[in-house]
């Protein structure tokens, strides 16, 4: 707590008390993870958007549905997004048709259920990690604040043992403590922004999937 202390970032972190250092470590880890998830989600959501765009183009180009189904299932990769919904619905529809002697409404109901299940799986994939980002965004400022409060408490307790209190005796402790809040905010702000962005993209995608489901059901009903 000398005035001669240099206030470099490293000395501030190493000079902090153990709980504050622990808080900083936790926050650093959460920040790293949230950024990792952010980049993963950016990539996956972007891919889902382009894939559904491509599939809609292919679907509405007016080709044969059987050919489309074959091209979708031909790939080694499991179909994703809108393609997987189409695949599930069309598979169920073909199966019911092959069994024969089924009511149209039952066939439609079965393929609808299959599409709904595929849709739920897709949505679950899209929603993955969003709760983590939400909780990082709301909790990490509090964790940082906890570290700061702890650090300030310590520096004031140190001050009480000194006869003549000067600002230079408290300042390094408070600066140390405030770093915890800074890290917490640094973790929280991108997480909140990313959460909001991803939530809206997922909503738009789900609306797109649902409308595709409705339209595809209509087409299947016309075919049966």
């Amino acid at each position: 707590m000398n005035a001669e202390n240099d206030m470099s970032l490293l000395s501030l972190i190493s000079g902090a008390s153990l709980p504050v250092q622990l808080v900083m470590l936790i926050l650093l880890m959460t920040s790293l993870f949230s950024w990792w998830y952010i980049f993963i989600k950016v990539a996956t959501i972007k891919r889902a958007e382009t894939e559904s765009e491509d599939f809609e183009n292919k679907f509405w180009s007016g080709g044969d549905l059987n050919k489309l189904y074959e091209s979708v299932t031909a790939g080694r990769r499991k179909p994703q997004g809108m393609a997987s919904i189409f695949e599930a619905g069309f598979k169920e529809f073909i199966r019911h048709k092959q069994q024969g002697r089924m009511e149209v409404s039952d066939v439609m109901e079965g393929s609808r259920r299959a599409m709904r299940a595929a849709y739920n799986r897709e949505l679950d994939d899209l929603d993955a990690h969003l709760p983590f980002l939400a909780s990082v965004g709301s909790v990490s400022p509090y964790i940082g604040l906890f570290g700061t409060v702890w650090g300030i408490m310590n520096s004031f307790r140190g001050l009480s043992s000194v006869a003549q209190a000067t600002l230079s005796q408290v300042a390094p402790g408070i600066a140390e403590a405030l770093i915890a809040t800074a890290i917490g905010l640094f973790a929280a702000i991108p997480a909140v922004i990313a959460y909001n962005r991803f939530a809206s993209s997922v909503d738009r995608l789900s609306v797109r999937y649902e409308s595709f489901m409705e339209e595809f059901t209509n087409i299947l009903q016309r075919k049966s």
């Binding site: 005035a3 001669e4 202390n5 240099d6 206030m7 470099s8 970032l9 501030l12 650093l28 920040s31 790293l32 993870f33 950024w35 990792w36 998830y37 952010i38 980049f39 993963i40 990539a43 996956t44 994703q80 994939d125 993955a128 640094f186």
Partner: protein, 272 residues
């Protein structure tokens, strides 16, 4: 933790996440000046003296009295060589001689002064030694009386030593100081007068007296104390407000003269 279809992106995303953190850390290290700048404090040392400083005047005035006799004595020898106009080469010699003589005189004078001082100092030392020896023996009342006498003599010698050197200079200095003090008290009064609301003090010519303490910066060290009221409380308040409003007050830069302003008894006539 990760979905199957996310595995392809995980490495890239991890690298990017670390890159973001490194980037931010770098930005922080570069943009902030983390080294705390500690301005050099203006430390003023204060020495506390029990008595008035005796050593200083002894040291300073010594060189001054010596050059003065040189100027006084020069004009005397010059007129002597002038009457002898006919002998041209010769007048130079007497000049040299005179100069030499002058120098000798000066040297002798200096030597005399120093000798006297040395003698006195030696006397003082001897007496001091005797006193010490006697202290060690420490016997009879008669001797104590003698000791007292000698101590008096010692004090006188010391005072003589001091007076010889400091007497004249301190007088002129104090006169100069007095004029500076007067000048600055006038400045202070003028500054305060500019801030007084004179309508509150009426048409007469009331006199107030305030005791004010001043810091070296010209600011008040405490609230001004009213010593003598003008008779009307409104006027007293107005002047007090004016004194606080006219901070910083003009002060001499010389710290020795400032000492006179540390607590100032201010006679103030607002309508003057």
């Amino acid at each position: 933790m990760l979905r199957k279809h996310e595995n392809t992106d995980s490495w890239k995303a991890g690298g990017l996440a670390i890159a973001v953190h490194v980037l931010l850390l770098g930005a922080m290290l570069v943009s902030f000046n983390w080294k705390a700048a500690h301005p050099v404090l203006n430390v003023t040392e204060v020495e506390l003296w029990d008595k008035l400083p005796a050593a200083k005047p002894v040291l300073q005035p010594q060189p001054k009295p010596e050059p003065k006799p040189v100027i006084e004595e020069k004009p005397e020898p010059k007129p002597e060589p002038k009457p002898i106009v006919e002998e041209k080469p010769e007048p130079e010699q007497p000049k040299v001689d005179i100069a030499l003589e002058n120098k000798k005189k000066k040297l002798e004078q200096q030597a005399k002064i120093e000798l006297e001082k040395n003698k006195k100092a030696e006397l003082a030392k001897k007496i001091a030694q005797q006193i010490r020896e006697e202290d060690l023996q420490n016997n009879k009342a008669a001797e104590k009386q003698a000791k007292l006498d000698r101590e008096k003599a010692l004090n006188k010698l010391q005072q003589d030593l001091l007076n010889e050197n400091s007497g004249a200079d301190t007088k002129t200095a104090s006169a100069a100081n007095a004029s500076i003090i007067g000048e600055y008290t006038e400045k202070i009064k003028a500054k305060i007068r500019g801030n007084v609301n004179k309508t509150l003090c009426g048409d007469g010519n009331p006199e107030l007296r305030f005791d004010i303490g001043l810091l070296p910066t010209g600011e008040l060290s405490g609230p001004p104390k009213l010593v003598k009221s003008s008779g009307s409380a409104a006027c007293d308040d107005a002047v007090e407000r004016a004194i606080t409003a006219s901070q910083p007050l003009p002060l001499p830069t010389d710290p020795a003269i400032y000492a006179k302003f540390r607590s100032l008894n201010l006679r103030f006539k607002p309508n003057e």
